[in-house]
């Protein structure tokens, strides 16, 4: 298959391949390498201490809490929306798709800003909230809302194209044969989209754990209280505790690598098109 490329000059392949590998080595491989090399610069003992000190544990716990709330909610939203968009023709569908995609295009800082404007001390509901002693901004609910906003398109974007491609013939047959709506969904639709759905969930999970900008705006950076893992990295780095910062960062890097491996695995399972990576 490669032999037919005699059309192009001989020097082209080495040149382009060399450029590609050098460019990706500088921008992708070195950052990966430096995270682990810095994290382990002072040995495994310091590494272990950095990721098990109380503030790090608190950050990991908060991050997991955020993931446990946002990922299931966005999964239900993604599946319901994909069903709506892939199975029905209705007015305003294009507009709805644009709205669903919007959080993906908005700057993370603006995603944080909008919740501060709603629930912050000078926000639209700020006075009412402080009267009733409810804290949203600079507290866990704000972090959850901002993460929910940022990750809301991920599952939907991943399975809408899959469901559209599969059409609705199979579902219509199931219904004609007497299956109920829910039976059709669980036994026909879900098995067809399971790999795409799984990947959407993995991607939401990675982004929910790693989100920085939006969470930084609403968190207030109260150490051990409102700091997720990326914010904990920022605090450590700001205090020149580089080894500790890179140690916590290495956990997030492992998460990113696992995400990439699973993506390749699922693409191999589906055996065809590339999945959306973002």
């Amino acid at each position: 298959m490669q032999t037919e490329h005699r059309l192009e000059p001989r020097w082209l392949k080495p040149l382009l391949l060399g450029t590609t590998l050098l460019f990706l080595a500088i921008f992708l491989a070195l950052p990966l390498g430096v995270v682990f090399s810095e994290a382990l610069a002072k040995g495994w003992k310091v590494y272990w201490a950095s990721i098990t000190e109380p503030d790090a544990i608190a950050a990991i716990k908060l991050t997991l809490l955020v993931v446990l709330i946002t990922v299931p909610l966005n999964t239900v939203f993604g599946v319901a929306t994909a069903w709506l968009i892939a199975k029905f023709e209705f007015r305003g569908k294009g507009l709805l798709i644009t709205l669903i995609d919007l959080p993906f295009a908005v700057s993370p800082v603006i995603a944080g800003l909008i919740f501060v404007l709603l629930f912050g001390s000078q926000g639209w509901f700020g006075a009412w909230l402080s009267e009733h002693d409810i804290r949203i901004v600079f507290a866990t609910p704000g972090i959850i809302l901002a993460t929910l906003f940022i990750t809301s398109p991920f599952v939907a974007r991943e399975i809408i194209p899959l469901m559209q491609e599969q059409g609705k013939d199979e579902e219509e047959s199931a219904l004609t044969l007497g299956a109920s709506g829910w039976q059709t969904f669980w036994k026909v639709t879900l098995p067809n989209i399971k790999w795409g759905l799984l990947y959407g969930v993995i991607l939401s999970n990675a982004r929910a754990m790693g989100e920085f900008g939006a969470v930084a705006v609403v968190s207030g950076h109260i150490r051990g209280m409102t700091t997720t893992m990326p914010l904990h990295v920022e605090i450590l780095y700001g205090e020149y505790l580089f080894t500790a910062a890179f140690a916590v960062a290495s956990l997030l890097t492992l998460l990113a690598l696992v995400t990439l491996v699973l993506k390749s695995f699922i693409e191999w399972r589906i055996g065809k098109k590339r999945l959306l990576a973002h």
């Binding site: 995270v35 709506l84 209705f90 800003l113 926000g123």
Partner: protein, 276 residues
């Protein structure tokens, strides 16, 4: 014909999913973004102008747009080369290299920021090589561009790669057998058909760069007038409880995002119509 919300279908669940989706999007996206636009109405045009035309804010807009543009151009060039290499050549470890291209999507931006800062600092792996040459990347404007190249890298590759993979080789062969040189074939046959994908990737990479915050603040010195990006201005204003100022700057950013989204849609509609 009677007006109808939807075409009839035997599948159930339209009302349920429509209601749920609309409620979710309204509460999570529409009301919060609307709240931002509504908050801007608290400002008169003069106040709005005073915030935006403040020299420090203007300098940050120049930096954000300029650095995003440079980074998107770098990604356009190298992204095309990477996409070409991955779709046309076989080499050892190709699968791993291909999977690694998505790293900037999967790696948290804060981690990318501290990693790049460590590499390009004057004592870092690359920074130490550049220092004798008098080139400083970390803690300068060049650092901002480096972070944005990392963040935007996959966009051009992933939009162009499928188009190169599906490109009919017959066109190239026809062009060559008609006597065109390789360069003529590339510039007159291949490049024009890649144009919509290249432009889309470029715009996506630019849009992402414009809003980026996490990776930049670690590698930039964040100095007002020199290396301070727009998102950082918003964060700074918020931390001083200057909601009005943050909103004014945020609104301009949001409008810029809408314009880019609109352009991306226009490119895609144009190229779809052309190919029909």
């Amino acid at each position: 014909m009677k007006w109808q919300l939807r075409k009839p279908s035997v599948l159930p669940g339209f009302g349920l999913t429509l209601g749920f989706s609309l409620t979710y999007v309204t509460l999570l996206v529409l009301i919060p973004l609307g709240g931002l636009l509504l908050y801007t109405t608290k400002l008169s045009w003069n106040e709005f102008g005073a915030v935006i035309l403040d020299p420090r804010v203007l300098a940050s807009f120049k930096l954000s747009f300029g650095a995003s543009l440079i980074a998107a151009v770098i990604n356009l060039f190298f992204g095309l080369i990477v996409a070409w290499t991955l779709s046309r050549y076989n080499f050892f470890g190709k699968k791993i290299v291909d999977a690694l291209v998505d790293l900037p999507f999967a790696l948290p931006t804060a981690v990318a920021g501290i990693a790049l800062a460590a590499i390009f600092a004057s004592n870092g792996w690359i920074g130490a090589l550049l220092e004798p040459l008098g080139i400083q990347i970390a803690y300068s404007r060049a650092g901002v561009v480096v972070a944005l190249v990392f963040i935007g890298l996959p966009f051009v590759v992933r939009t162009v790669q499928p188009v190169i993979e599906e490109f009919e080789k017959e066109f190239e062969e026809a062009s060559t057998s008609l006597g065109a040189s390789w360069w003529q074939t590339f510039s007159r046959v291949i490049l024009p058909s890649l144009m919509p994908a290249l432009l889309t990737g470029f715009a996506l990479s630019f849009a992402r760069a414009l809003g980026e915050y996490g990776s930049i603040i670690f590698i930039s010195s964040n100095m007002p007038f020199v290396s301070e990006i727009v998102p950082l201005i918003i964060v700074t204003k918020l931390s001083q409880f200057d909601y009005v100022g943050a909103t004014a700057v945020g609104t301009v950013m949001l409008l810029a995002t809408f314009v880019i989204l609109f352009l991306i849609n226009a490119i895609q509609i144009y190229s779809r119509e052309k190919s029909l």
